[in-house]
């Protein structure tokens, strides 16, 4: 896992920007306005607040990984906590990553089933999705980064379709501005913060970055690009929908696509949601790659077959015949672990500062 060889440094600045940008945008954006709806019309600026939070969280992350420029977080854990404790933490992280992948896959595939493949079971679409995600992750993190770039250019055009929402919406909806209680802000933040999940993966691919000194700048750029994307959808949703609609429509962004009126296309939401697969594939492939690294770390062996293990477990998690309520609970609660994981690097920074310097990675 120790990447002393500079040949393994494969990610240039474009890769870093788009990796951060595309991994963040998953399915949660589709339902973000609904999740934030407890704040009423005041929710539109929340993505900007999330951007600031994410950017602040990025500081300890980058500080930590720059102390160990050739190690992934899995290795850092072993260096800071010792082999066994480190491996145990890595195993917990691995489980967390697999559940996140399963949650993302499950929510997207079920959405596809509702919107585009009404009469089909989700098994086959899920299998084909996982095969492509493995195919992308198989080429390594550079391969994932390249796919992120392509995905960005393929889906960037979706912003154009907000035009109808702007035209039919009401700009007065953005006021009043501070019309919410602290409790509503807390609820909205709790539900909505998951939208920024994905940037923390830099803790794992940092050793592969060529220009590590500029990583913070590039990561921040990627972060804000996705926040602008998120902000645009949230802002137009607020303009377009009534407060009641924001609270009751599960996927308001999807409904925005339905408002597009073209002479040759009646329902754009089908096209929109199927095109969203590129964003989901970028997210999933990156997480699968990290989970594979987790497997490598826990089992102390680097094998491509670990990718298939990850995919198989994800498939079982999504499709296994167990209580639907449990699955729902698992996928919802896993995001609380994500919030803990956002703060985890701060603790690691403190431990690093207290540890003797001999454990520090080579620079």
């Amino acid at each position: 896992m120790n990447l002393v060889d500079n040949k393994l440094k494969v990610l240039n600045h474009y890769h870093v920007v788009f990796l951060i940008q595309n991994v963040i945008i998953g399915t949660s954006l589709l339902s973000l306005p609904n999740r934030l709806s407890s704040m009423g019309y005041s929710l539109w600026w929340m993505p900007l607040l999330f951007g600031v939070v994410a950017n602040l969280l990025l500081i300890p992350m980058i500080w930590l990984v720059r102390k160990y420029p050739n190690d992934t977080l899995f290795v850092i854990h072993e260096k800071l906590f010792g082999k066994w404790a480190g491996k145990t933490i890595n195993a917990i992280l691995l489980v967390y990553f697999i559940i996140v992948i399963a949650a993302v896959c499950s929510s997207y595939i079920r959405l596809i089933q509702i919107v585009a493949l009404v009469d089909q079971k989700i098994t086959a679409p899920l299998i084909i999705f996982l095969i492509i995600a493995i195919y992308i992750a198989h080429g390594g993190i550079k391969s994932v980064a390249r796919f992120c770039i392509i995905s960005f250019f393929l889906t960037f055009g979706l912003l154009y379709f907000l035009k109808w929402g702007v035209a039919d919406g009401d700009i007065r909806h953005i006021m009043p501005f501070f019309n919410f209680t602290p409790q509503e802000l807390f609820t909205a933040s709790k539900k909505g913060l998951m939208t920024i999940g994905g940037f923390e993966l830099i803790l794992f691919y940092f050793p592969y970055i060529i220009y590590q000194k500029k990583a913070f700048k590039h990561a921040s750029l990627g972060l804000w690009m996705s926040m602008v994307f998120t902000f645009a959808f949230t802002f137009v949703s607020v303009m377009f929908f009534s407060e009641w609609q924001l609270e009751n429509l599960l996927y308001p962004v999807l409904n925005l696509f339905q408002e597009v009126q073209l002479s040759y296309l009646e329902r754009l939401d089908v096209l929109g949601i199927t095109m969203w697969v590129y964003l989901i594939l970028s997210t999933t492939a990156a997480y699968i790659w990290v989970a594979k690294k987790g497997f490598d770390s826990v089992l102390s062996s680097t094998k491509k077959s670990h990718l298939y293990f990850v995919a198989a477990i994800v498939f079982i998690l999504v499709r296994a015949p167990y209580m639907e309520a449990f699955q729902k609970l698992l996928f919802e609660r896993v995001f609380y672990v994500m919030y803990a994981f956002f703060l985890w690097p701060i603790l690691l920074c403190l431990i690093h500062m207290m540890k003797p310097k001999k454990n520090e990675g080579s620079k």
């Binding site: 240039n12 474009y14 596809i112 585009a116 493949l117 089909q120 086959a124 679409p125 084909i128 999705f129 492509i132 195919y135 992308i136 080429g139 391969s143 390249r146 796919f147 770039i149 392509i150 393929l154 002479s263 040759y264 296309l265 009646e266 329902r267 089908v270 096209l271 199927t274 095109m275 697969v277 590129y278 594939l281």
Partner: protein
């Protein structure tokens, strides 16, 4: 000599002819099928009878110890002279195999620009290139490949432009090839592919000397083979396979328009029929009611599912194309008319397919022939079937997944270890001048990024004092 006779035993055209000069016995050994008797007389027998010393000075000595060397000299079309008194082997070039004359290209034709095509003679092909580049920087390295056929291969490059790393890769690849024989250079191309399982060509094969020369000037490497009419150019990128040589002879406006058509035609051809399946099978609500009504009406009596209907029509087109290309030209045209008009109309009247589909399939088939590179054209048809199956199974979602595969596959492909999607990844902004849009010639100052040429700029074309 006895060993030589044993080795050549059973070869009817192997000739051992004794002549006597000053009472000394000299045996001429050659393959009668590879030489011309007139040339043999002019270059060997007559000079030998006049002055043996002159012949000894002008001909090449072969190391007699190495019998394999003597045999390979004979198989190359030389005449070997064995001087019994001295035990000496000499060779004189008398090769005179029939070669086709240089003719116009019929597979990569263009309205304007040079029309000459390569022939199946390596020497003629090299001369066609050398005639256009009269510069000592044009280097040629020869190799012999094919354990059974001993086929000659030449690697051409501009010494001052080419990337040496690329050159080493090509040479190493050629040296490592272990294959019994080559009927055409396309076999060599497949053996040299970085990704042999990919449906996409990773080298550019052409029969046009002007393309070869442009490639050399860009810093690419050109490989020519004896008995192969085409030559291969490497490295090449996905975008460049949509460039026709005529683009550079045309006005930039027309060239850009045609390039745009070719490039987007590739993507259109792979999504047209699959979209028909997706929309009719899974997402009829996507279409406006009037359009849907027309579509349903046109396929009202068709008993098959859209997937089967499309597959049937696509296969019919493939059969027609294949049948047409195997027939003599005149019959091939008839097949086209019979297939295109008779079968098309009859299939609609018999309610086997809808007339909307006939239009879509025909447009899709035409679009697939737009890429100037024939292999790329074939690739687009193969990829289209993947999209058809994707659409048949999962509608638009299947198509998007197929696109994800396609893009990722193209991203991971390389030609001589250089990314296939250059200049998109990695980008080189000067390549934009000669991409989907071809800028006026005065802007084309820079070598393409994919070649990683030593000299980055081409000489200025319009320098005015």
């Amino acid at each position: 000599m006895e060993t030589l006779k044993t080795k050549l035993d059973g070869i009817e055209d192997a000739v051992f002819k004794d002549i006597y000069v000053d009472k000394e016995r000299i045996t001429l050994i050659y393959f009668s099928s590879l030489i011309d008797n007139k040339i043999l007389h002019q270059t060997v027998i007559a000079p030998l009878l006049q002055s043996k010393a002159d012949v000894l000075q002008t001909s090449e000595v072969i190391e007699a110890i190495d019998i394999a060397n003597v045999i390979s000299t004979i198989t190359e079309g030389n005449t070997v002279l064995y001087f019994h008194a001295e035990g000496l082997y000499l060779s004189i070039n008398t090769f005179s195999a029939p070669t086709a004359a240089i003719s116009d290209t019929d597979t990569e034709s263009s309205v304007i620009g040079p029309q000459n095509a390569f022939t199946e003679s390596l020497e003629t092909n090299l001369s066609l290139v050398k005639r256009r580049i009269q510069n000592t920087n044009l280097k040629i390295r020869n190799f012999v490949i094919g354990s059974e056929t001993n086929t000659k291969v030449s690697v051409l490059y501009m010494d001052d432009i080419v990337n040496k790393e690329n050159l080493d890769i090509v040479i190493n690849k050629i040296k490592k090839i272990d294959h019994p024989g080559f009927n055409d250079i396309s076999i060599l191309q497949q053996l040299m592919d970085d990704h042999p399982f990919s449906p996409f060509p990773q080298y550019h094969e052409t029969v046009r000397p002007d393309i070869a020369v442009s490639g050399l000037l860009d810093g690419r490497i050109v490989i020519a083979m004896e008995n192969g009419k085409g030559i291969i150019i490497c490295p090449i990128s996905f975008f460049e396979l949509f460039i026709s040589p005529e683009d550079y002879y045309n006005r930039w406006t027309t060239a850009s328009l045609l390039r745009f058509l070719r490039f987007f035609g590739f993507f259109l051809t792979i999504i047209l029929t699959p979209t028909y399946i997706s929309v009719l099978t899974y997402h009829p609500e996507m279409l406006p009611f009037e359009v849907l009504l027309n579509l349903q009406e046109s396929r009202g009596k068709v008993p098959f599912s859209p997937f089967m209907e499309v597959l049937f029509m696509e296969l019919v087109i493939e059969v027609l194309r294949e049948a047409g290309s195997r027939m003599p030209t005149k019959i091939g045209q008839t097949i086209g008319i019979v297939g295109g008009i008779v079968i098309g109309t009859a299939a609609v009247e018999a309610s086997l397919v809808s007339n909307t589909l006939i239009v879509i399939v025909a447009v899709s088939a035409l679009l697939s022939f737009l890429p100037p590179n024939f292999i790329m054209s074939n690739s687009s048809r193969f990829v289209r079937y993947l999209f058809i199956f994707g659409a048949g199974m999962f509608g638009l979602y299947g198509q998007m997944i197929a696109f994800a595969w396609l893009f990722h596959h193209l991203l991971s492909l390389t030609s001589l270890n250089t990314p296939y999607l250059t200049p998109l990844i990695p980008r080189k902004w000067t390549d934009v001048f000669d991409s989907v849009v071809r800028m006026p010639t005065k802007f084309l100052k820079y070598k393409p990024g994919i070649t990683r040429a030593q000299t980055k700029k081409t000489p200025p074309v319009d320098k005015e004092e």
